[in-house]
């Protein structure tokens, strides 16, 4: 029996959709522009705020130096691991700069630079990667969530926090960072869905750096862009050149403004590139060629801004030197502080598992105490 033969199926069959079928008509405006948004090197750069851009430049130079110093510390065995953001500094810094003091940043393990640019002490930001504790700072004090190692699991936290803040009547926006690989995780999907349904004041920034460790984007997703994923959840998707700090800052600012004004979440895909390996444990030459890396080096976020600002007379040699000196001073202090052995108390292992220690943990703490005492006496 075909549909036409169904009893009662006449000309009017399916003439009215069932009540639950309500097609959205606003899908098209949610679609990202086909080309990533750019400012540097385009006529739009004429409207740049010189003060903001000089600050961005200083932060970029400092961020590049921070990356170099952290990588060096890994080679010296001072850090257990460091996931570099060389090439991605524009995203990290713009993410930190667009937030107000009361806003929250939700970083992944790669985003220590964003935390530092937000004002966190670099040593506190690197504690996890040094290995003396998991989170080296009080998240509430800095409004920076703990660096998340599991992929995309911090995104639903950002949604929940933003939702809670709105329920309490507070003006708080949450900005969550995730990589291209993280967009394949279930938590990415659930977070975006919750955010859109709740119209939570949250912004998702995907730093598409080309590879999830070794797996290229083409093997990660069949979507035209990662920004397209927004449409299915009912939020706008934006595509931006992730190496153009002016563009990233503008797109993020707009999304943050929208969220703050009650307009709901936005998904932003910043197209960038990880110049260095995933971490020091990775051999990037196994999955990509030099030509590709060199091409991206020619689109360097620090140089892009430096060229624009110099050409416009907003930055001179003295300004460049000043930024370099400040970065060098930061690196020297960081090096010195990281060379000091962290003070560890093994008894900390039993602290803060529960508000009140359980009997079981008390017994185990006593056992370790006795072992430590015996070690001391021998």
């Amino acid at each position: 029996m075909t549909v036409q033969e169904l009893p009662g199926a006449g000309a009017s069959y399916r003439s009215t959709p069932p009540p639950a079928w309500r097609p959205r008509t606003d899908a098209a405006p949610l679609l990202p522009d086909p080309e990533p948004y750019r400012v540097l090197g385009t006529p739009a750069a004429e409207k740049l705020d010189p003060e903001l851009m000089r600050r961005c430049y200083a932060e970029l130079v400092r961020g590049r130096r921070y990356n170099a110093q952290a990588t060096a510390l890994t080679r010296q065995g001072r850090l257990a691991v460091y996931p570099s953001t060389v090439g991605q500094e524009a995203c990290e810094i713009a993410a930190a700069l667009v937030l107000e003091e009361q806003d929250w940043l939700f970083p992944s393990y790669r985003d220590t630079l964003a935390a530092v640019a937000r004002g966190l002490d670099p040593v506190q930001a690197l504690t996890l990667l040094r290995g003396d504790w998991h989170t080296g700072y009080d998240p509430r004090e800095h409004r920076i969530a703990p660096l998340s190692t599991p992929l995309a699991t911090q995104l639903p936290h950002a949604v929940g926090l933003a939702h809670a803040a709105r329920l309490r009547g507070d003006d708080v926006v949450a900005l969550a960072l995730v990589g291209d690989g993280g967009t394949s995780e279930g938590d990415f999907h659930e977070a975006l869905n919750f955010a859109a349904v709740w119209q939570a004041p949250v912004v998702f920034l995907v730093q598409n750096n080309g590879f999830a460790i070794s797996v290229p984007l083409a093997k990660q997703t069949a979507a035209p862009t990662l920004a397209h994923k927004a449409v299915g959840y009912g939020m706008p998707g934006r595509l931006v050149d992730g190496n153009d700090i002016a563009a990233v800052h503008e797109v993020l600012s707009e999304a943050v403004r929208r969220a703050r004004a009650g307009g709901g979440p936005t998904l932003i895909e910043a197209i960038t590139y990880r110049i260095e390996a995933h971490t020091n444990a990775d051999d990037a030459t196994r999955y990509r060629g030099d030509a590709e890396v060199e091409a991206w080096k020619a689109h360097d976020p620090v140089e892009l801004l430096e060229r624009e600002l110099t050409a416009r007379g907003l930055l001179d040699a003295a300004g460049i030197q000043e930024a370099k000196d400040a970065a060098e001073a930061m690196a020297a202090t960081l090096r010195e502080r990281m060379n000091a052995e962290p003070v560890l108390d093994p008894m900390d292992l039993f602290e803060n598992v529960y508000a009140e220690q359980t009997g079981r943990l008390r017994e185990q703490a006593e056992m370790l105490r006795a072992e430590l005492d015996a070690e001391e006496q021998s």
């Binding site: 509430r140 703990p146 639903p156 949450a174």
Partner: protein
């Protein structure tokens, strides 16, 4: 002095009342989950909460357990006390990464700066004729995760008292609700509920001298019935209700077993590496010289939860408990 009439109430009503009272007293308490709002939950445990406190405080969420618990983490980070419903035991599994990687560890990761006062309600266990994925006893997964408290009530009084204690706790609590006891009744006064011991305290539900049955949640009524039946065989059984699996009240268990010299652990969950394995190990360590017989277990079989028409063969029943108790007549 006026006396309020004590009426029969079900465990389901006591659980709902606990959330209602917690929400009324503390505006930071939020109930959330699939179907908890308009419908009042598939078991009607949250009935009336959305009406009384509004949809912002009793929220129907999208159907996504990782998202529900993940959002609750963020809400707790901002100072709320989320009470999350997982609807059915086996539906909680998508949320395990959030539970284990974040909920259980946040206090520790942040050196105490960011405790997460989240209560995760998990209706668990069999005996209600549910089809597959609706009857798992998943407590072994929870108790194996440091940083979580795991509690389970077996009485109407405890359903109220333990849930209030869980919501008030500054640590995350996995609150296991024995769903086949939802409709069990007791004389209970919702206006002035009797105070019960909080998280971490076991209770001797029946005193005895011949042997101790150690149990919790859905197996408590079965053990009490077995203890009554055992009198005919000349056994005077003590029954300990753990109430809290983490922390585990070793003192009460050890004191009881030292008194009786014999013990049987009873639970629905699979025996292999189940909670009973840990309990037996602790009893052997602490009571070795007091024991007159090996400590035995009566548990569910080591099989995936069976289809409803066969579950009666899997679940520990009175006969299986009595047969096991008979084996305590140990001769070298």
């Amino acid at each position: 002095m006026t006396t309020v009439a004590v009426k029969p109430a079900t465990m389901a009503q006591a659980l709902g009342r606990a959330m209602r009272d917690a929400m009324a007293e503390d505006p930071t308490v939020h109930v959330m989950g699939e179907d908890v709002g308009t419908l009042g939950g598939v078991f009607r445990i949250t009935d009336g909460l959305a009406k009384e406190f509004g949809e912002d405080r009793c929220t129907d969420t999208p159907l996504a357990e990782a998202g529900i618990l993940g959002a609750a983490v963020g809400m707790a980070m901002y100072g709320l006390r989320p009470v999350v419903e997982m609807q059915f035991d086996a539906f909680a599994y998508p949320a395990f990464e959030q539970l284990i990687s974040h909920v259980a560890k946040m206090r520790n990761r942040t050196r105490g700066a960011m405790p997460l006062p989240i209560t995760i309600r998990v209706p668990y266990g069999g005996g209600i004729g549910g089809v597959e994925h609706h009857s798992d006893s998943s407590e072994a997964y929870y108790v194996a995760t440091p940083g979580l408290h795991v509690v389970t009530p077996a009485t109407v009084e405890d359903a109220y008292g333990l849930l209030r204690a869980s919501i008030a706790s500054d640590d995350p609590v996995v609150f296991l609700e024995p769903k086949r006891l939802y409709w069990s009744k007791a004389q209970w006064n919702p206006e002035t509920p009797a105070a019960v011991p909080g998280i971490g305290k076991a209770l001797v539900r029946r005193t005895g001298t011949s042997a101790t049955l150690i149990t919790y949640g859905p197996s408590l009524p079965v053990c009490l019935e077995a203890a009554e039946a055992a009198r005919e065989e000349g056994w005077d059984l003590e029954v300990v209700d753990l109430r809290s699996l983490v922390p585990f009240d070793e003192d009460t268990v050890v004191a009881s077993v030292r008194r009786t010299g014999r013990a049987v652990v009873v639970h629905e969950a699979n025996g292999f590496a189940g909670p009973g394995a840990e309990l037996v190990a602790r009893i052997q360590e602490k009571c070795f010289h007091h024991l007159e017989a090996p400590v035995l277990r009566v548990t569910g079989f080591d099989i995936p939860y069976p289809p409803p028409m066969l579950e009666k063969h899997h679940l520990p029943g009175v006969d299986r408990i009595l047969d096991t108790v008979a084996r305590l007549q140990w001769e070298n």
